[in-house]
């Protein structure tokens, strides 16, 4: 990425170094506006605010597959915006439990849309921590995901499952909630 920027930057200087005025030295970035902030809000540097969902996920050793998948699907901006958002975050083990080759296949560029759909099906508008999830179950309310699916919340003893995935823990972030889950929630077949 940086190498690419260097090439563009250098190229720009050469291109503009000898224009009609012969004096112009425009700012490099004015010439490639779209490269300015490739990840949009996800590239904003902020060390003061509480961490957002993406920042928390990136800091977790248990979610390297999820983060890689989010990057491959290029949906980082979904996890950093104002929200509020609840993410059901499958652990690496959850991805490993999928049939062999599934993850590798999803990471192929031609499957980007499918991957994005699967991932956004793990995200729901609203703030649902473990207490809220129990309440949803009690009141018979389902969780509506960003992919447009409805996930059922089931409480069995101490266990809370969402769309069949068990919640292992809840983390409050600056823009919503992460519920760590033990399974990848696969969309219903249509």
């Amino acid at each position: 990425m940086i190498r690419k920027m260097i090439i563009i930057f250098t190229a720009c200087l050469f291109l503009f170094a000898c224009n009609s005025g012969g004096e112009e030295q425009p700012s490099n970035s004015s010439n490639n506006l779209e490269d300015n902030t490739p990840k949009g809000q996800a590239s904003v540097v902020d060390n003061v605010s509480a961490k957002n969902i993406l920042q928390v996920a990136m800091g977790s050793d248990d979610h390297t597959t999820l983060v890689a998948a989010v990057e491959a699907a290029e949906i980082e901006h979904v996890l950093v915006n104002a929200g509020p958002l609840t993410v059901f975050a499958p652990t690496n083990a959850a991805f490993d439990a999928l049939p062999e080759g599934t993850v590798a296949s999803l990471l192929e560029p031609e499957n980007k849309e499918k991957l994005a759909f699967i991932l956004t099906n793990h995200a729901a508008p609203g703030s649902f921590n473990i207490e809220s999830l129990k309440k949803e179950s009690k009141k018979g309310r389902k969780i509506y995901t960003a992919a447009g699916e409805y996930l059922e919340v089931v409480v069995e003893g101490k266990d809370v499952t969402v769309g069949g995935a068990k919640v292992l823990g809840t983390i409050q972030t600056s823009n919503g909630i992460i519920n760590v889950v033990d399974n990848v929630i696969l969309p219903t077949e249509k």
Binding site: L13, D46, G83
Partner: protein, 654 residues
């Protein structure tokens, strides 16, 4: 990563050499920097930042606007002396005390001259001060929060115009009186002005660490109009210079009667001497009554205290405290060059610019080259102190600022132009028209030891045809000039709020890194804070009902309240639980006779609602905060006075 950046810079460096040496038609050009189209030089690409902050006085708006240079973009309007319904300044319970004065609550003033704090004569970017002209006050604004932190009223003053300029280590912020008045105020004939009215020059000390202001002393001067002022710096540190007009002491038709004298004065005040006199007890303590208002960042609340006395020095009785420097024709701006040697008097009715020499002034004092005195204050001989005169530079000189290369830039109101001239030779180098009728001008750091002489902003009074018309009232304009070359170049003009009376600028790198992002919830010491939804509650004390409410994406807690009655006074104390940059929430309720609240992350604010009608009344978040912003709403049930409905509150039925 490091290696990549080294490659990056190396490539850029090589490329730059190529760009500079590759096409030989740029060699000896001295015209403004690397010229290209003006548009390119003020264009800040999306996502990039301006190089300078420009803090532009809002003039009769009473506020202070924050722009970027060179783009001219407006970033924020900081409410200072006028209420601001958008930010609830002067409307919420926390900030109402900021606008308290000895005359009671005042919702407006006229803000004039911002000045950024300095250390060793250089901008330090900690605070910015600005004066209220009408009801004399000085405000201190934090450049971390960009909020007004403190306002102090100035007693014995009127038309607080030669203010708020600071000394080179921010020892004092100084405020002078434009409209002399009876001191103390009393019932007397206006015609007895002469000899009886006084003009106070106030020196307000500034706490080194926290900025707290206190009136250290006032110098009670003859009843002239003290127009503008600037501190000595470098060799003249310890002195402060004030222009005067109306040394005729007229009280009517000043446009004629205050223009009779061939020369008025610049008052040179030795404030180090004043400190000695204070220490020696040579002051009088005068009864006074003035407000001192302080906003506390931890309680998010302002308090107003009335002060009852002030120390006064009489220059007629205290030798060496003040000298008058004769200066032609009602001088307006009073500007000191970066070295501290030259004091420029911009005689607004004079055909030439007068420059005094500090060194000569010192010599003249020593040798007592006086031409009499005025009310016991020695008048120095003009020829003994004059450094030079810029001959016929333009019509109506008002203000001068400086670059770091020995050049001065003066605005001319009547001939609508900025003129560049050289210190020492007094030669005019360049002149450029402004559109139209320029008042002040600003070079970032242009009134300090270290000017950043890249841009000059002209602050114009008249706009006419510069923008799309908007009926009889049009905005005032500012114009940006590149001053890096021999010739000034007009790059941009841009609209401003109110009247851009004066401005102060500083490199963004001095201020931006310290700008606060959020308030820490754990540091919140507001007496009515609720730091979590568990702490929310509604408490009745007679007719007063206190709602301890929280807000977080995307709901209020509580959001259903019952048991409120007509005739109650309901205080909504609302805490924003967010700890995320740029996620404020707002709140208001139907029929509230006040503004919204706009609450920053970690902050608590309060508004009062007095329900007048029975019913169920909605409130909502007024700042689009999130994907579920439209869902961020709630209801208050209001019952008749006689009702027995129990006070209750809930969120999601719990």
């Amino acid at each position: 990563m490091k290696v990549a950046f080294k490659i990056f810079f190396l490539s850029a460096f090589i490329a730059s050499i190529f760009a500079l040496s590759g096409c030989g038609n740029n060699g000896g050009s001295k015209s403004g920097a690397l010229t290209s189209s003006a548009a390119n030089r003020v264009f800040i690409p999306p996502g990039e930042h301006d190089e300078f902050y420009a803090f532009m006085s809002g003039g009769f708006s009473g506020q202070l606007a924050v722009h970027g240079l060179p783009s001219g973009r407006l970033f924020k309007v900081i409410p200072v002396f006028s209420v601001d319904a958008e930010k609830a300044y002067g409307f919420n319970e926390e900030t109402k005390p900021m606008l308290n004065t000895s005359y009671g609550f005042i919702p407006w003033d006229d803000s004039h001259h911002p000045d950024i704090s300095q250390t060793n004569g250089e901008l330090d970017g900690r605070w910015i001060f600005i004066n209220a002209n009408n009801t004399p006050r000085i405000a201190r604004i934090s450049l971390e929060t960009f909020e007004t932190e403190e306002i102090i009223e100035i007693p014995n003053s009127a038309g607080n115009h030669s203010s708020s300029f600071i000394t080179e280590n921010t020892e004092y912020v100084v405020a002078g009186t434009r409209f002399s008045v009876p001191v103390p105020q009393r019932d007397m004939p206006i015609s007895e002005y002469k000899g009886n009215f006084k003009g106070a020059l106030s020196f307000i000390s500034v706490d080194k660490d926290h900025g707290d202001m206190e009136i250290a002393f006032q110098i009670m001067m003859p009843g002239f109009d003290y127009d503008l002022s600037h501190p000595g710096r470098g060799k003249s540190h310890g002195w402060f210079f004030f222009t005067t007009y109306n040394t005729e002491e007229a009280s009517t038709l000043l446009e004629v009667n205050a223009s009779q004298n061939d020369k008025d004065f610049i008052a040179a005040v030795n404030w180090k001497k004043a400190e000695e006199y204070i220490k020696a007890g040579k002051f009088k303590t005068m009864k006074a009554n003035y407000a001192h208002n302080v906003y506390d960042e931890d309680t998010h609340t302002a308090t107003s205290t009335m002060k009852k006395s002030v120390k006064v020095l009489d220059p007629a009785e205290l030798p060496g405290l003040v000298y008058f420097l004769p200066t032609p024709k009602s001088p307006h701006g009073c500007d000191v060059d970066p070295s501290g040697e030259y004091i420029v008097g911009n005689g607004k009715l004079a055909a030439s610019l007068t420059v005094h020499s500090f060194t000569k002034m010192q010599k003249a004092i020593k040798e007592e080259k006086f031409d009499g005195d005025a009310y016991g204050i020695p008048i120095l001989n003009f020829d003994a102190i004059n450094a030079g005169t810029v001959m016929q530079p333009g019509l109506g000189p008002l203000h001068t600022e400086f670059d770091a290369n020995g050049y001065a830039y003066t605005t001319f109101f009547i001939s609508s132009e900025v003129v560049k001239w050289q210190l020492g030779t007094w030669k005019v180098i360049d002149r450029k028209p402004t559109y139209y009728s320029v008042g002040h001008l600003m070079i970032p750091g242009g009134n300090s030891r270290k000017p950043f002489g890249k841009y000059l902003v002209a602050l114009n009074k008249i706009t006419k045809d510069r923008y799309l018309p908007t009926g009889p009232e049009v905005c005032h304009s500012a114009q940006l000039y590149d001053i890096t070359g021999d010739k000034m170049e007009l790059l941009l003009d841009f609209p401003t709020i109110g009247e851009p009376h004066y401005a102060a600028g500083a490199p963004a790198s001095l201020i931006a890194p310290n700008s606060k992002k959020i308030y820490r919830l754990e540091d919140n010491k507001h007496p009515y804070v609720a730091k979590s939804e568990k702490e929310t509650k509604v408490v009745r004390k007679g007719k007063d009902v206190h709602v301890y409410m929280t807000m977080i994406r995307s709901h209020f807690a509580p959001d259903n309240i019952e048991g409120i009655k007509v005739g109650d006074r309901v205080y909504f104390h609302v805490t924003n639980l967010e700890q995320d940059y740029d996620v404020p929430h707002g709140i208001s309720i139907i029929g509230a006779n006040t503004s919204e609240l706009l609450i920053m992350p970690g902050q608590t604010e309060t508004f009062v609602w007095e329900p007048k009608q029975v019913g169920v009344w909605p409130f909502y978040c007024t700042d689009f905060c999130s994907a579920l912003h439209q869902e961020m709403q709630g209801y208050v049930r209001v019952s008749p006075k006689s009702s027995n409905i129990k006070l209750s509150w809930s969120l999601d039925g719990e």
